[in-house]
Protein backbone atom coordinates (compact mmCIF):
# COMPACT_ATOMS: atom_id res chain seq x y z
CA UNK A 1 0.00 0.00 0.00
CA UNK A 2 1.24 3.45 -0.93
CA UNK A 3 0.14 6.95 0.02
CA UNK A 4 0.25 9.36 -2.89
CA UNK A 5 -0.46 13.08 -2.72
CA UNK A 6 -0.50 15.11 -5.92
CA UNK A 7 -0.49 18.85 -6.43
CA UNK A 8 -1.91 19.83 -3.07
CA UNK A 9 -2.89 23.48 -2.71
CA UNK A 10 -4.18 25.36 0.30
CA UNK A 11 -4.65 29.06 0.79
CA UNK A 12 -5.67 30.73 4.05
CA UNK A 13 -6.99 34.12 2.97
CA UNK A 14 -3.98 35.55 1.08
CA UNK A 15 -1.42 33.20 2.60
CA UNK A 16 -0.36 30.23 0.48
CA UNK A 17 0.17 27.54 3.11
CA UNK A 18 0.68 24.68 0.65
CA UNK A 19 1.65 25.35 -2.94
CA UNK A 20 1.56 22.55 -5.46
CA UNK A 21 3.00 19.94 -3.12
CA UNK A 22 3.34 16.31 -4.16
CA UNK A 23 4.89 13.30 -2.48
CA UNK A 24 4.71 9.55 -2.06
CA UNK A 25 5.03 7.50 1.09
CA UNK A 26 6.05 3.95 0.33
CA UNK A 27 5.40 0.84 2.38
CA UNK A 28 7.76 0.51 5.34
CA UNK A 29 9.43 3.86 4.76
CA UNK A 30 10.12 6.65 7.27
CA UNK A 31 9.70 9.98 5.49
CA UNK A 32 10.60 13.24 7.19
CA UNK A 33 8.84 16.48 6.40
CA UNK A 34 11.16 19.28 7.48
CA UNK A 35 10.96 23.01 7.22
CA UNK A 36 10.85 26.23 9.20
CA UNK A 37 7.78 27.25 11.21
CA UNK A 38 4.90 28.05 8.87
CA UNK A 39 6.36 26.01 6.00
CA UNK A 40 3.11 24.02 5.72
CA UNK A 41 4.03 20.75 7.46
CA UNK A 42 1.04 20.57 9.78
CA UNK A 43 -1.34 21.72 7.04
CA UNK A 44 -0.10 18.89 4.81
CA UNK A 45 -0.52 16.27 7.54
CA UNK A 46 -3.97 17.75 8.26
CA UNK A 47 -4.93 17.18 4.62
CA UNK A 48 -3.92 13.53 4.85
CA UNK A 49 -6.31 12.76 7.70
CA UNK A 50 -9.08 15.12 6.72
CA UNK A 51 -8.65 17.98 9.21
CA UNK A 52 -7.81 20.40 6.40
CA UNK A 53 -9.71 20.40 3.12
CA UNK A 54 -7.29 21.18 0.27
CA UNK A 55 -8.31 23.76 -2.33
CA UNK A 56 -7.02 21.45 -5.04
CA UNK A 57 -5.10 18.22 -5.37
CA UNK A 58 -5.49 14.51 -5.00
CA UNK A 59 -4.66 12.09 -2.18
CA UNK A 60 -4.90 8.33 -2.48
CA UNK A 61 -4.06 5.62 0.01
CA UNK A 62 -3.92 2.28 -1.77
CA UNK A 63 -7.22 2.03 -3.61
CA UNK A 64 -8.95 4.74 -1.57
CA UNK A 65 -9.39 8.30 -2.74
CA UNK A 66 -9.26 10.37 0.44
CA UNK A 67 -10.94 13.42 -0.97
CA UNK A 68 -14.05 11.80 -2.39
CA UNK A 69 -15.93 10.09 0.37
CA UNK A 70 -13.54 7.20 1.02
CA UNK A 71 -11.65 8.86 3.85
CA UNK A 72 -13.37 6.84 6.57
CA UNK A 73 -12.33 3.58 4.92
CA UNK A 74 -8.77 4.79 4.41
CA UNK A 75 -8.52 5.96 8.01
CA UNK A 76 -8.87 2.35 9.20
CA UNK A 77 -5.26 2.03 8.02
CA UNK A 78 -4.03 5.30 9.52
CA UNK A 79 -2.83 6.41 12.92
CA UNK A 80 -2.38 10.09 13.67
CA UNK A 81 -0.25 11.73 16.35
CA UNK A 82 -1.30 15.37 16.27
CA UNK A 83 0.99 18.18 17.32
CA UNK A 84 -1.27 19.26 20.17
CA UNK A 85 -2.02 16.98 23.08
CA UNK A 86 -5.67 16.17 22.56
CA UNK A 87 -5.95 13.24 24.93
CA UNK A 88 -9.34 12.97 26.57
CA UNK A 89 -9.02 14.55 30.05
CA UNK A 90 -12.40 13.12 31.08
CA UNK A 91 -11.05 9.57 30.79
CA UNK A 92 -8.29 7.48 32.34
CA UNK A 93 -5.24 6.30 30.38
CA UNK A 94 -6.85 2.90 29.76
CA UNK A 95 -10.25 4.37 28.86
CA UNK A 96 -8.62 6.76 26.38
CA UNK A 97 -7.40 3.78 24.39
CA UNK A 98 -10.56 1.67 24.78
CA UNK A 99 -12.79 4.56 23.66
CA UNK A 100 -10.49 5.22 20.71
CA UNK A 101 -10.54 1.54 19.74
CA UNK A 102 -14.30 1.76 19.44
CA UNK A 103 -13.91 4.61 16.97
CA UNK A 104 -12.09 2.09 14.77
CA UNK A 105 -14.79 -0.50 15.33
CA UNK A 106 -12.69 -2.57 17.75
CA UNK A 107 -14.53 -3.61 20.91
CA UNK A 108 -14.63 -6.22 23.68
CA UNK A 109 -11.80 -8.68 24.34
CA UNK A 110 -9.98 -7.77 21.15
CA UNK A 111 -9.80 -4.12 22.18
CA UNK A 112 -8.75 -4.95 25.75
CA UNK A 113 -5.91 -7.22 24.58
CA UNK A 114 -4.61 -4.70 22.09
CA UNK A 115 -4.80 -1.84 24.61
CA UNK A 116 -2.94 -3.82 27.26
CA UNK A 117 -0.29 -4.76 24.68
CA UNK A 118 0.15 -1.10 23.67
CA UNK A 119 0.35 0.07 27.28
CA UNK A 120 3.11 -2.47 27.88
CA UNK A 121 4.89 -1.50 24.65
CA UNK A 122 4.91 2.17 25.66
CA UNK A 123 5.75 1.44 29.33
CA UNK A 124 2.53 3.01 30.55
CA UNK A 125 0.90 -0.06 32.01
CA UNK A 126 1.56 1.14 35.58
CA UNK A 127 -0.35 4.35 34.74
CA UNK A 128 -3.35 2.45 33.40
CA UNK A 129 -5.88 3.94 35.82
CA UNK A 130 -4.34 7.39 36.08
CA UNK A 131 -6.03 10.47 34.77
CA UNK A 132 -4.20 11.76 31.68
CA UNK A 133 -3.59 15.09 33.39
CA UNK A 134 -1.32 13.31 35.87
CA UNK A 135 1.07 12.14 33.14
CA UNK A 136 4.38 13.82 32.32
CA UNK A 137 4.89 15.43 28.91
CA UNK A 138 6.78 12.41 27.61
CA UNK A 139 4.13 9.98 28.85
CA UNK A 140 1.40 12.02 27.19
CA UNK A 141 3.19 11.86 23.84
CA UNK A 142 3.71 8.12 24.25
CA UNK A 143 0.04 7.68 25.09
CA UNK A 144 -0.97 9.62 21.97
CA UNK A 145 1.34 7.36 19.97
CA UNK A 146 -0.21 4.30 21.61
CA UNK A 147 -3.64 5.72 20.81
CA UNK A 148 -2.72 6.04 17.14
CA UNK A 149 -1.79 2.34 17.11
CA UNK A 150 -5.06 0.86 18.44
CA UNK A 151 -6.13 -0.35 15.00
CA UNK A 152 -2.65 -1.64 13.98
CA UNK A 153 -2.31 0.99 11.23
CA UNK A 154 -0.13 0.61 8.15
CA UNK A 155 0.50 4.36 8.02
CA UNK A 156 1.37 6.65 10.90
CA UNK A 157 1.61 10.41 10.79
CA UNK A 158 3.72 11.90 13.56
CA UNK A 159 3.46 15.67 13.79
CA UNK A 160 6.34 16.87 15.95
CA UNK A 161 6.14 13.90 18.31
CA UNK A 162 9.10 14.91 20.46
CA UNK A 163 8.77 18.70 20.70
CA UNK A 164 9.32 19.85 24.26
CA UNK A 165 10.53 16.48 25.56
CA UNK A 166 13.70 15.81 27.51
CA UNK A 167 16.47 13.70 25.86
CA UNK A 168 15.41 10.62 27.78
CA UNK A 169 11.81 10.83 26.64
CA UNK A 170 12.91 11.63 23.07
CA UNK A 171 15.02 8.54 22.66
CA UNK A 172 12.19 6.54 24.24
CA UNK A 173 9.98 7.70 21.39
CA UNK A 174 12.71 7.02 18.82
CA UNK A 175 12.83 3.45 20.07
CA UNK A 176 9.10 3.11 19.43
CA UNK A 177 9.41 4.63 15.95
CA UNK A 178 12.17 2.17 15.09
CA UNK A 179 10.08 -0.67 16.47
CA UNK A 180 7.22 0.34 14.17
CA UNK A 181 9.54 0.68 11.18
CA UNK A 182 10.79 -2.84 11.82
CA UNK A 183 7.18 -4.01 11.82
CA UNK A 184 6.79 -2.56 8.32
CA UNK A 185 4.70 0.47 9.22
CA UNK A 186 5.08 3.51 6.93
CA UNK A 187 5.79 6.65 8.89
CA UNK A 188 5.48 10.32 8.00
CA UNK A 189 7.29 12.49 10.51
CA UNK A 190 7.63 16.21 11.03
CA UNK A 191 10.20 17.57 13.42
CA UNK A 192 12.33 20.59 14.19
CA UNK A 193 15.17 18.43 15.46
CA UNK A 194 17.55 17.71 12.60
CA UNK A 195 19.45 15.08 14.55
CA UNK A 196 16.15 13.28 15.03
CA UNK A 197 15.35 13.43 11.31
CA UNK A 198 18.87 12.25 10.42
CA UNK A 199 18.57 9.36 12.84
CA UNK A 200 15.06 8.19 11.97
CA UNK A 201 14.28 9.06 8.36
CA UNK A 202 15.03 7.05 5.25
CA UNK A 203 14.13 10.03 3.14
CA UNK A 204 13.54 13.71 3.74
CA UNK A 205 11.53 16.43 2.06
CA UNK A 206 12.62 19.95 2.88
CA UNK A 207 9.75 22.41 2.69
CA UNK A 208 9.57 26.16 2.53
CA UNK A 209 6.52 28.35 1.90
CA UNK A 210 4.47 25.24 1.18
CA UNK A 211 6.82 24.00 -1.56
CA UNK A 212 9.47 21.28 -1.76
CA UNK A 213 12.90 22.84 -1.96
CA UNK A 214 14.88 19.61 -1.83
CA UNK A 215 14.47 15.92 -1.14
CA UNK A 216 16.59 12.82 -0.66
CA UNK A 217 18.11 10.60 1.97
CA UNK A 218 19.75 12.50 4.85
CA UNK A 219 23.31 11.35 4.01
CA UNK A 220 22.80 12.08 0.30
CA UNK A 221 21.53 15.55 1.01
CA UNK A 222 24.37 16.37 3.40
CA UNK A 223 27.00 15.24 0.94
CA UNK A 224 25.36 16.95 -2.03
CA UNK A 225 24.61 20.27 -0.38
CA UNK A 226 27.43 20.75 2.14
CA UNK A 227 30.10 18.09 1.79
CA UNK A 228 31.65 15.92 4.47
CA UNK A 229 33.06 18.55 6.78
CA UNK A 230 32.27 22.04 8.06
CA UNK A 231 34.24 24.50 10.12
CA UNK A 232 32.78 26.55 12.93
CA UNK A 233 34.85 29.64 13.56
CA UNK A 234 34.45 32.19 16.36
CA UNK A 235 36.01 35.54 17.20
CA UNK A 236 36.64 36.77 13.64
CA UNK A 237 34.97 39.47 11.56
CA UNK A 238 32.45 38.82 8.82
CA UNK A 239 34.74 40.46 6.23
CA UNK A 240 37.55 38.07 7.06
CA UNK A 241 35.33 35.00 6.70
CA UNK A 242 33.70 36.34 3.58
CA UNK A 243 37.09 37.02 2.05
CA UNK A 244 38.31 33.48 2.55
CA UNK A 245 35.01 31.90 1.53
CA UNK A 246 34.76 33.91 -1.67
CA UNK A 247 38.32 33.13 -2.60
CA UNK A 248 37.50 29.41 -2.65
CA UNK A 249 33.87 29.91 -3.65
CA UNK A 250 32.53 28.18 -0.53
CA UNK A 251 29.23 28.33 1.23
CA UNK A 252 29.33 30.23 4.52
CA UNK A 253 26.87 31.85 6.92
CA UNK A 254 26.58 33.35 10.35
CA UNK A 255 26.17 30.73 13.03
CA UNK A 256 25.37 31.74 16.60
CA UNK A 257 28.03 34.39 17.38
CA UNK A 258 30.46 32.91 14.87
CA UNK A 259 30.40 31.55 11.33
CA UNK A 260 29.98 28.29 9.50
CA UNK A 261 32.06 27.43 6.41
CA UNK A 262 31.76 24.32 4.29
CA UNK A 263 35.10 22.54 3.96
CA UNK A 264 35.55 20.58 0.73
CA UNK A 265 38.01 17.66 0.76
CA UNK A 266 40.25 19.03 -1.96
CA UNK A 267 41.08 22.35 -0.29
CA UNK A 268 43.70 21.52 2.36
CA UNK A 269 45.06 25.04 2.62
CA UNK A 270 41.75 26.52 3.84
CA UNK A 271 42.07 25.40 7.40
CA UNK A 272 45.61 26.82 7.60
CA UNK A 273 44.40 30.09 6.17
CA UNK A 274 41.56 30.33 8.69
CA UNK A 275 43.94 29.63 11.54
CA UNK A 276 45.91 32.71 10.53
CA UNK A 277 42.84 34.86 11.29
CA UNK A 278 43.47 34.64 15.02
CA UNK A 279 40.08 33.16 15.79
CA UNK A 280 39.18 32.48 19.43
CA UNK A 281 37.90 29.07 18.48
CA UNK A 282 37.97 26.91 15.35
CA UNK A 283 36.10 23.62 15.28
CA UNK A 284 36.20 21.12 12.44
CA UNK A 285 33.28 18.72 12.49
CA UNK A 286 31.17 16.42 10.27
CA UNK A 287 28.50 18.20 8.27
CA UNK A 288 24.98 17.38 9.39
CA UNK A 289 21.38 17.87 8.37
CA UNK A 290 21.11 21.08 10.35
CA UNK A 291 23.75 22.61 8.05
CA UNK A 292 21.68 21.52 5.03
CA UNK A 293 18.58 23.03 6.60
CA UNK A 294 20.37 26.32 7.29
CA UNK A 295 21.83 26.44 3.81
CA UNK A 296 18.65 25.66 1.89
CA UNK A 297 16.17 27.69 3.91
CA UNK A 298 18.68 30.57 4.04
CA UNK A 299 19.16 30.54 0.27
CA UNK A 300 15.46 30.68 -0.37
CA UNK A 301 14.86 33.47 2.10
CA UNK A 302 17.53 35.64 0.49
Amino acid sequence: MQLIAKNLHKKFKDFKAVDSFSFELNAGEVLGLLGPNGAGKTTIIGMLYGAVIPDAGEITLGEFNLLSGQASKAKQFMGVVTQENNLDPDLTVYQNLIVFSRFYGITGKKAEERVNYLLKLTNLIHKKDSNVEELSGGMKRKLILARSLVASPKFIFLDEPTTGLDPDARQDLWKLVNHLRNEGVSILLTTHYMDEAERLCDRIILLQNGKTIDAGSPSEMILKKIGKTVIEIYGVSQDQVQGVAEKYNLWWREFADGFLIALPDQINTLLEELKLLNATNIKERDANLEDVFLKLTGEKLN
Binding site: G50, A51, I53, G69, S72, K75, T82, F103
Partner: protein, 268 residues
Protein backbone atom coordinates in the same frame (compact mmCIF):
# COMPACT_ATOMS: atom_id res chain seq x y z
CA UNK B 1 -25.37 16.47 -1.41
CA UNK B 2 -28.14 14.89 0.69
CA UNK B 3 -27.08 11.60 -0.81
CA UNK B 4 -23.54 12.04 0.52
CA UNK B 5 -24.98 12.94 3.92
CA UNK B 6 -26.92 9.72 4.23
CA UNK B 7 -24.18 7.77 2.54
CA UNK B 8 -21.79 8.76 5.34
CA UNK B 9 -24.29 7.95 8.11
CA UNK B 10 -22.97 5.10 10.19
CA UNK B 11 -24.97 4.04 13.23
CA UNK B 12 -22.03 2.29 14.89
CA UNK B 13 -19.90 5.45 14.57
CA UNK B 14 -22.66 7.57 16.10
CA UNK B 15 -22.98 5.00 18.89
CA UNK B 16 -19.21 5.01 19.49
CA UNK B 17 -19.24 8.77 20.05
CA UNK B 18 -22.36 8.56 22.24
CA UNK B 19 -20.75 5.73 24.22
CA UNK B 20 -17.68 7.90 24.95
CA UNK B 21 -19.96 10.38 26.68
CA UNK B 22 -21.75 7.64 28.57
CA UNK B 23 -18.37 6.36 29.86
CA UNK B 24 -17.59 9.81 31.24
CA UNK B 25 -21.13 10.26 32.58
CA UNK B 26 -21.04 6.97 34.46
CA UNK B 27 -17.75 7.86 36.14
CA UNK B 28 -19.12 11.16 37.42
CA UNK B 29 -22.81 10.36 37.54
CA UNK B 30 -23.55 11.77 40.98
CA UNK B 31 -22.35 15.28 40.21
CA UNK B 32 -23.73 14.99 36.71
CA UNK B 33 -27.05 13.43 37.49
CA UNK B 34 -28.32 15.02 40.68
CA UNK B 35 -28.22 18.83 40.25
CA UNK B 36 -29.86 18.94 36.81
CA UNK B 37 -32.50 16.47 37.91
CA UNK B 38 -33.40 18.31 41.02
CA UNK B 39 -33.56 21.71 39.32
CA UNK B 40 -37.00 21.39 37.69
CA UNK B 41 -38.25 19.54 40.74
CA UNK B 42 -37.27 22.48 42.94
CA UNK B 43 -38.97 24.80 40.48
CA UNK B 44 -42.09 22.68 40.63
CA UNK B 45 -42.28 22.57 44.39
CA UNK B 46 -40.62 25.91 45.05
CA UNK B 47 -42.83 27.92 42.77
CA UNK B 48 -45.77 25.56 42.94
CA UNK B 49 -46.06 25.30 46.73
CA UNK B 50 -45.11 28.94 47.23
CA UNK B 51 -47.49 30.37 44.68
CA UNK B 52 -50.30 27.83 45.04
CA UNK B 53 -51.90 29.53 48.12
CA UNK B 54 -51.85 32.88 46.30
CA UNK B 55 -53.01 31.63 42.93
CA UNK B 56 -55.02 28.54 43.82
CA UNK B 57 -56.43 27.85 40.40
CA UNK B 58 -55.64 29.08 36.92
CA UNK B 59 -57.86 29.43 33.89
CA UNK B 60 -56.22 27.56 31.00
CA UNK B 61 -58.06 27.47 27.65
CA UNK B 62 -61.32 28.00 29.49
CA UNK B 63 -60.66 25.22 32.02
CA UNK B 64 -60.15 25.95 35.68
CA UNK B 65 -57.29 23.83 37.05
CA UNK B 66 -55.16 23.56 40.15
CA UNK B 67 -51.95 25.59 39.82
CA UNK B 68 -49.58 22.70 40.59
CA UNK B 69 -51.29 20.55 37.95
CA UNK B 70 -50.89 23.41 35.51
CA UNK B 71 -47.16 23.94 35.99
CA UNK B 72 -46.23 20.23 36.23
CA UNK B 73 -46.12 19.61 32.43
CA UNK B 74 -44.35 22.96 32.06
CA UNK B 75 -41.59 21.68 34.34
CA UNK B 76 -41.14 18.62 32.12
CA UNK B 77 -40.59 21.01 29.21
CA UNK B 78 -38.15 23.14 31.18
CA UNK B 79 -36.18 20.06 32.27
CA UNK B 80 -35.82 18.91 28.66
CA UNK B 81 -34.86 22.39 27.49
CA UNK B 82 -32.21 23.07 30.11
CA UNK B 83 -30.56 19.66 30.06
CA UNK B 84 -30.33 19.22 26.28
CA UNK B 85 -29.41 22.80 25.58
CA UNK B 86 -26.70 23.11 28.23
CA UNK B 87 -25.09 19.75 27.46
CA UNK B 88 -24.84 20.78 23.81
CA UNK B 89 -23.87 24.41 24.37
CA UNK B 90 -21.42 23.96 27.26
CA UNK B 91 -20.40 20.30 27.18
CA UNK B 92 -19.85 20.06 23.44
CA UNK B 93 -18.29 23.51 23.29
CA UNK B 94 -15.68 22.60 25.90
CA UNK B 95 -14.96 19.37 24.02
CA UNK B 96 -14.62 21.30 20.78
CA UNK B 97 -12.77 24.42 21.85
CA UNK B 98 -10.72 23.44 24.90
CA UNK B 99 -10.34 19.68 25.13
CA UNK B 100 -10.09 19.25 21.33
CA UNK B 101 -12.01 16.00 21.70
CA UNK B 102 -13.80 16.64 18.39
CA UNK B 103 -10.47 17.12 16.64
CA UNK B 104 -9.06 13.94 18.17
CA UNK B 105 -12.09 11.92 17.08
CA UNK B 106 -11.80 13.32 13.56
CA UNK B 107 -8.41 11.62 13.17
CA UNK B 108 -10.27 8.28 13.31
CA UNK B 109 -12.65 6.71 10.78
CA UNK B 110 -15.56 8.57 12.47
CA UNK B 111 -16.40 11.27 9.96
CA UNK B 112 -17.67 14.74 10.78
CA UNK B 113 -21.34 13.94 10.24
CA UNK B 114 -21.27 10.89 12.49
CA UNK B 115 -19.40 12.81 15.16
CA UNK B 116 -21.97 15.60 14.97
CA UNK B 117 -24.87 13.20 15.33
CA UNK B 118 -23.11 11.40 18.19
CA UNK B 119 -22.88 14.72 20.04
CA UNK B 120 -26.48 15.56 19.18
CA UNK B 121 -27.73 12.18 20.41
CA UNK B 122 -25.81 12.53 23.66
CA UNK B 123 -27.17 16.01 24.43
CA UNK B 124 -30.65 14.72 23.58
CA UNK B 125 -30.09 11.73 25.87
CA UNK B 126 -29.51 14.05 28.80
CA UNK B 127 -32.73 15.90 27.98
CA UNK B 128 -34.60 12.61 27.74
CA UNK B 129 -33.29 11.45 31.13
CA UNK B 130 -34.25 14.79 32.74
CA UNK B 131 -37.69 14.86 31.10
CA UNK B 132 -38.44 11.28 32.17
CA UNK B 133 -37.29 11.80 35.77
CA UNK B 134 -39.41 14.94 36.07
CA UNK B 135 -42.38 13.09 34.56
CA UNK B 136 -42.10 10.33 37.14
CA UNK B 137 -41.89 12.87 39.95
CA UNK B 138 -45.05 14.70 38.86
CA UNK B 139 -46.90 11.42 38.38
CA UNK B 140 -45.87 10.11 41.79
CA UNK B 141 -46.86 13.48 43.29
CA UNK B 142 -50.26 13.16 41.67
CA UNK B 143 -49.94 16.16 39.35
CA UNK B 144 -50.25 13.98 36.25
CA UNK B 145 -51.70 10.57 35.46
CA UNK B 146 -49.66 7.47 34.60
CA UNK B 147 -51.26 7.34 31.15
CA UNK B 148 -49.84 10.79 30.45
CA UNK B 149 -46.48 9.06 29.97
CA UNK B 150 -47.74 7.77 26.62
CA UNK B 151 -47.89 11.38 25.51
CA UNK B 152 -44.91 12.69 27.45
CA UNK B 153 -42.28 10.17 26.36
CA UNK B 154 -42.48 10.68 22.58
CA UNK B 155 -42.69 14.44 23.12
CA UNK B 156 -39.69 14.43 25.46
CA UNK B 157 -37.81 12.37 22.91
CA UNK B 158 -38.33 14.64 19.93
CA UNK B 159 -38.02 17.93 21.80
CA UNK B 160 -34.72 16.80 23.38
CA UNK B 161 -33.32 16.65 19.87
CA UNK B 162 -34.75 20.10 19.14
CA UNK B 163 -33.06 21.79 22.10
CA UNK B 164 -29.85 19.78 21.65
CA UNK B 165 -29.66 21.06 18.08
CA UNK B 166 -30.28 24.60 19.32
CA UNK B 167 -27.33 24.23 21.72
CA UNK B 168 -25.09 22.89 18.96
CA UNK B 169 -26.11 25.73 16.67
CA UNK B 170 -24.97 28.12 19.39
CA UNK B 171 -21.48 26.57 19.50
CA UNK B 172 -21.28 26.76 15.73
CA UNK B 173 -21.87 30.50 15.93
CA UNK B 174 -19.76 31.60 18.89
CA UNK B 175 -15.99 31.80 19.40
CA UNK B 176 -15.57 32.41 23.12
CA UNK B 177 -17.29 30.68 25.99
CA UNK B 178 -18.60 34.01 27.38
CA UNK B 179 -20.63 34.49 24.23
CA UNK B 180 -22.86 31.61 25.32
CA UNK B 181 -24.40 34.14 27.73
CA UNK B 182 -26.12 35.89 24.84
CA UNK B 183 -28.39 33.06 23.73
CA UNK B 184 -28.75 31.87 27.34
CA UNK B 185 -30.00 35.17 28.74
CA UNK B 186 -31.73 36.47 25.63
CA UNK B 187 -33.40 33.28 24.52
CA UNK B 188 -33.24 30.23 26.77
CA UNK B 189 -33.99 31.77 30.17
CA UNK B 190 -36.76 34.11 28.88
CA UNK B 191 -38.22 31.19 26.94
CA UNK B 192 -38.23 28.95 30.00
CA UNK B 193 -40.18 31.61 31.92
CA UNK B 194 -42.48 33.05 29.27
CA UNK B 195 -43.41 30.14 27.03
CA UNK B 196 -46.45 29.25 29.13
CA UNK B 197 -44.55 27.24 31.69
CA UNK B 198 -45.45 29.07 34.93
CA UNK B 199 -48.63 30.79 33.71
CA UNK B 200 -50.91 30.67 30.65
CA UNK B 201 -49.48 32.74 27.82
CA UNK B 202 -52.92 34.33 27.42
CA UNK B 203 -52.10 36.38 30.55
CA UNK B 204 -49.48 38.24 28.50
CA UNK B 205 -50.29 41.32 26.36
CA UNK B 206 -51.47 40.34 22.89
CA UNK B 207 -48.37 41.40 20.97
CA UNK B 208 -45.98 39.63 23.34
CA UNK B 209 -48.14 36.53 23.43
CA UNK B 210 -47.99 36.30 19.66
CA UNK B 211 -44.18 36.50 19.59
CA UNK B 212 -43.73 34.08 22.49
CA UNK B 213 -46.04 31.54 20.85
CA UNK B 214 -43.49 31.07 18.08
CA UNK B 215 -40.85 29.81 20.53
CA UNK B 216 -40.19 26.06 20.37
CA UNK B 217 -40.89 25.59 24.09
CA UNK B 218 -44.39 27.10 23.71
CA UNK B 219 -45.41 24.43 21.24
CA UNK B 220 -43.94 21.75 23.49
CA UNK B 221 -45.70 22.77 26.72
CA UNK B 222 -49.01 23.21 24.88
CA UNK B 223 -48.90 19.64 23.64
CA UNK B 224 -47.66 18.36 27.01
CA UNK B 225 -50.91 19.83 28.42
CA UNK B 226 -52.96 17.95 25.83
CA UNK B 227 -54.69 15.88 28.52
CA UNK B 228 -55.61 18.98 30.51
CA UNK B 229 -57.03 20.79 27.52
CA UNK B 230 -55.96 20.28 23.90
CA UNK B 231 -54.73 23.45 22.25
CA UNK B 232 -56.70 24.24 19.09
CA UNK B 233 -53.45 24.40 17.12
CA UNK B 234 -51.83 21.23 18.53
CA UNK B 235 -51.48 19.60 15.13
CA UNK B 236 -49.72 22.60 13.72
CA UNK B 237 -47.56 22.85 16.84
CA UNK B 238 -46.44 19.26 16.47
CA UNK B 239 -45.40 19.97 12.89
CA UNK B 240 -43.66 23.09 14.15
CA UNK B 241 -41.55 21.03 16.58
CA UNK B 242 -40.59 18.61 13.80
CA UNK B 243 -39.69 21.55 11.55
CA UNK B 244 -37.54 23.08 14.31
CA UNK B 245 -35.70 19.78 14.79
CA UNK B 246 -34.87 19.56 11.09
CA UNK B 247 -33.98 23.22 10.65
CA UNK B 248 -31.87 23.57 13.82
CA UNK B 249 -30.06 20.27 13.18
CA UNK B 250 -29.19 21.31 9.66
CA UNK B 251 -27.99 24.77 10.68
CA UNK B 252 -25.94 23.39 13.57
CA UNK B 253 -24.40 20.70 11.36
CA UNK B 254 -23.41 23.25 8.76
CA UNK B 255 -22.12 25.94 11.13
CA UNK B 256 -19.89 23.63 13.19
CA UNK B 257 -18.47 22.26 9.95
CA UNK B 258 -17.55 25.81 8.99
CA UNK B 259 -15.92 26.30 12.37
CA UNK B 260 -13.82 23.14 12.08
CA UNK B 261 -12.93 23.18 8.40
CA UNK B 262 -13.42 26.87 7.52
CA UNK B 263 -15.90 25.67 4.97
CA UNK B 264 -19.67 25.93 5.05
CA UNK B 265 -21.53 22.82 3.97
CA UNK B 266 -24.10 23.26 1.20
CA UNK B 267 -23.43 26.97 0.93
CA UNK B 268 -20.13 26.69 -0.94
Amino acid sequence: MFFTLFHTFNLFSIYAVWRRHLTVYRATWLSNFLPPMTEPIFYLFGFGLGLNPIIGKVIYLGHEIEYLKFIAPGMVGVAVLLQSFFEAAYGSFIRLQYQKTWQAILTTPIGYTNLFFGELCWAATKGIIAGCVTSFVIIISGFAALKDLLLFIPLIFISSFMFAALGLLVIGLINKIDEINLPVFLLVIPMSVMAGTYYPRSNLPDAIERIVSFLPLSALVDILRFNIAPHSNWCFELLEIIAWVILLTFLAWSSIHRKLFKKLLFFG
